[in-house]
Symmetry: C2
Subunit: 333 residues, 2 copies
């Protein structure tokens, strides 16, 4: 930087100031620096920069499982917003393992990030590690809430999701059974079950929950195996099934296919199946999956904006924002 400043005819502290915030120097100076950068292809050493800065421009994005297209999609969205605001995002996937999540937070700590966007594992999340982390780094929790940690929570309104689609299913045919994992990793699943129970009672129907065994993140396979069992034991009494999420629904669709059950809302169909999330593949199942769509854009925008506001000093009390979902009526129900 010393040399670069010399050949550019500008002092090193000014160059340093420019890299900290290009807007902080006079326009004429900025143009000279930028011309020199172009000419000499100089870029400052990231390690040396971040060593002394109290605040880096790093932002960590942590999701429970990067191989889940839902999280991959929202991570991609958040990543772009960070770049647009001049931050350097780094992606992390917890691989569904609490220990891995803790490791990520630990190593993130030594990266001195300006802020972190975290979708916690949920049930498996180590409260102590997370709490300590949130004290050190401005952390925005999204997707699934863990107590009132961090600066805010942003996610979807799971009660509304489930009551909305339950309403739709009741209006258009037999009331749905609810198909879910017995021990879901994600706390949203509990909200959805609860919402289903409430909605069914409100409509004057008897709720009917089918909880299937299985751990881990291979939801499709869990849905498929659970579906086989449920079909064999005749648990789908009403001919309509609302799944706790789309991935379970995709597995259940496979089970129905394998059992020779025709899925859909036509006269000749044996069963209606609906999901929740609008998973990127839900549109391409056979039949296309009726589901409730997250407002990806709204969630990621609110999450990013809230974090940036907190980083840039706007301290506000902890808050929780939940966006409503949109019903997507397709052929499966």
């Amino acid at each position: 930087m010393e040399e670069f400043a010399a050949v550019s005819g500008i002092s090193r502290p000014t160059v340093s100031k420019y890299f900290h915030d290009p807007e902080s120097v006079r326009t004429s100076t900025r143009e000279r620096i930028e011309a020199a950068i172009e000419k000499y292809d100089y870029r400052p050493n990231i390690y040396a920069m971040n060593q002394n800065r109290k605040l880096t421009k790093n932002v960590g994005i942590v999701v429970p499982y990067l191989a889940d297209p839902f999280f991959a999609e929202i991570a991609r969205n958040l990543e772009q917003r960070c770049i647009d605001e001049g931050y350097r995002p780094t992606l992390y996937g917890s691989h569904g393992e609490p220990a891995h999540e803790s490791d990520i937070l630990d190593s993130l700590l030594s990266l001195k990030p300006a802020g972190v966007l975290l979708a916690p594992l949920g049930r498996g999340t180590d409260r102590r590690v997370l709490e300590r982390f949130c004290k050190a780094v401005p952390t925005l929790i999204f997707d699934s809430n863990v107590e009132e940690f961090g600066i805010a929570f942003v996610g979807s309104d799971n009660y509304q999701f489930t009551s909305h689609i339950t309403d739709y299913l009741c209006r258009t045919g037999e009331p749905p059974s609810f198909f879910e994992m017995k021990t879901p990793a994600n706390p949203n699943a509990h909200r959805r079950r609860q919402s289903y129970l409430t909605a069914m009672e409100d409509f004057g129907y008897e709720p009917h929950v089918i909880s299937v065994e299985g751990g881990g993140w291979e939801f499709e396979e869990i849905g498929r195996l659970g579906g086989h069992n449920a079909i064999e034991q005749g648990l789908f009494t009403t001919g309509t099934v609302l799944c706790s999420n789309d991935r379970l629904a995709i597995g259940l669709l496979t089970a129905c296919y394998e059992k020779g059950l025709r899925v859909g809302r036509g006269e000749d169909c044996a069963i209606r199946i609906a999901g929740q999330d609008n998973h990127p593949y839900a549109r391409f199942t056979c039949p296309p999956l009726t589901t409730v769509a997250h407002d990806y854009d709204a969630v990621s925008k609110e999450a990013a904006d809230t974090l940036f506001a907190a980083i840039e000093g706007t301290l506000s009390p902890w808050s929780s924002t939940r966006f409503e979902g949109k019903l997507l009526m397709r052929d499966s129900a």
Copy 2:
């Protein structure tokens, strides 16, 4: 580190040496240091460490599109192998955009990574940027090859993939048409088409390629729309279709559903559809998709091992390793 060394009763240079490589100090010393780390919860500042080290422990993993479950899966696999070897992997997705890929390589350059595992965009990759990058950083190219850049290439044997499944399809029914994108981003697609043409000639059949329009990375939608067209125009003359990849096949399955065509190998089915890649969802389509599976494990192991060997000094000439695929016979064909 000064203070930590003092309270631990060990000199700072030795502590520094320990963090560089725990094996490089005497066992008794290592135990004392590790006990002290446990006690005082000390960890060195990453930025200061990497500033002076000629070689960091960072490894970059770059894939064209993180929201594609295929790449998400292989990235996850590679990530784990890096961690196991004591490296710090960082994930990057190019979002399908050449400019973004170049940006990633550029910013990776300033991270002084020990090595990089790169799955290039392919056709869109900026040759000049990549070449310059490969000169500065040990780079292993995987999935799709770009000239003979980097230290080596590791991927799947696309010729074998297609000839193998073409063989199977010809033996079990009518010979397949080949369903692909007209302008695929990935060079593997060209190999597969070529392999199809060769295989069909070898079997004495007339090859029949259906190239559909569409750019970007939304392969399912491209397959669906292309499928609608092809069905309307009666292009699937033989009643068997081999798709260039599983994502196109998934879209085509949706198109068939929407057109009322029954897919599968049963007597009452109108069309057989097969894919290639064994996409994580291929098992859950309706019907489950017959496809050729990558040897994920072998590819990622070979890729990681080759990179680690190069980093640790074992210089070997550029090489190309391609693993054969395994035919997965499911219900769609």
